[in-house]
């Protein structure tokens, strides 16, 4: 495959810059499977690669960036993470999961060095929980992710509810419609409300949405996941 031409590269960067909020990836990473995830929005971008080392444990490394609504705070995190499947319930028509995750991080921000001094870096920790329930037609999720570094903390809390208009089988492209509510304490006082379209098939997954709340109206986001 040839590299992107200047025109296409500028186009791709423009699209990426127009995309807003971060959509967290799924945690269902089976043993010996590797997942690449990328999400982007005007206020956050994230890239992550995860590998299932056991049926109940995945390890990942990632890079993320969050910006406050007033654009005064810009935080960059480099993270290592373990995700543990604490509980899985196999129902007749669905599956329920509870995960705990966490690990070390390096945070880079001008907050750590004082105004006009440029960015500085601090070591810290991050972690949280993720609970979801899924059938072939209904999906619900609640998750929270806290970052601690240099005396600062930030918590991203996300709730999702989605519905599939048809029950896709293994070979089909699955289509889901729903709503995501997200709050980033320490960066915004608003709850971001984003209608979602989710499409996935066997090895790829895409979420797209456009926020509708006053503070983030028109902000689009995309979340892409690939399995290897």
């Amino acid at each position: 495959m040839t590299s992107l031409t200047g025109r296409w590269r500028r186009c791709a960067l423009a699209i990426a810059a127009a995309l807003p909020l971060p959509a967290s990836a799924g945690f269902f990473i089976p043993r010996d499977v590797t997942m690449f995830m990328f999400s982007a929005s005007p206020d956050s971008q994230m890239a992550d690669i995860a590998h299932g080392v056991r049926a109940d444990l995945a390890l990942s490394a990632g890079q993320s960036r969050y910006r406050s609504d007033d654009r005064r705070i810009d935080r960059h995190y480099t993270t290592l993470q373990g995700s543990w499947l604490i509980h899985r319930d196999y129902g007749v028509d669905g599956i329920t999961n509870l995960y705990l995750f966490g690990g070390p991080l390096l945070a880079r921000s001008s907050e750590f060095s004082g105004a006009g001094s440029g960015d500085d870096t601090r070591a810290g920790l991050h972690g949280g929980f993720w609970a979801d329930h899924e059938t072939r037609r209904i999906y619900g999720r609640l998750s929270t992710h806290t970052y601690l570094a240099g005396g600062r903390s930030q918590t991203v809390t996300t709730a999702q509810g989605l519905w599939a208009p048809y029950a896709a089988d293994y070979e089909d492209i699955a289509t889901w419609l729903g709503l995501q509510l997200e709050r980033r304490s320490g960066l915004t006082d608003a709850t971001q409300v984003t209608p979602l379209l989710r499409l996935f098939q066997r090895r790829w997954w895409v979420d797209v949405g456009v926020s509708v709340n006053r503070e983030h109206r028109g902000d689009a986001f995309v979340n892409l996941m690939l399995l290897f």
Partner: protein
């Protein structure tokens, strides 16, 4: 006497041929709990295809069925299958060997799915 011998040989050949066809059509059919999403379920296909004895794999979310056809003269132990499905995050409820080909099973499941809608 000569005619009886010929008939016996022909019968033996037919038996051997039918046994060989049955062997070639060996399919392992598993009932799996938790199969709701193709993205997550693709790990099962990856696991099973990585096995040297696997010829082809079928996954049906509608019927909670995972099936695979075996290469001639080869087999995969139940414990191995159970372990691979568990590693992929699912529970095996039942494993059975059927003489039905994978294509035939695929057609049967599709027929049931369409009939049920």
């Amino acid at each position: 006497m000569k005619r009886t011998t010929c008939l016996s040989i022909a019968s033996a050949l037919l038996l051997a041929l039918s046994a060989s066809l049955a062997q070639a059509a060996t399919t392992i059919r598993m009932q799996v709990d938790g199969l709701v999403c193709a993205f997550c379920g693709s790990a099962i296909e990856k696991k099973l295809r990585s096995h040297a004895a696997t010829d082809d794999v079928l996954v049906s979310l509608e019927h909670k069925v995972v099936a695979l056809s075996l290469k001639d003269g080869q087999d995969i132990a139940d414990d191995t299958l159970r372990s691979q499905i568990t590693d992929a995050g699912y529970q095996v409820k039942k494993i059975e060997r059927v003489s039905q080909s994978l294509d035939s099973l695929r057609a049967e499941l599709k027929g049931k799915a369409h009939g049920g809608r």
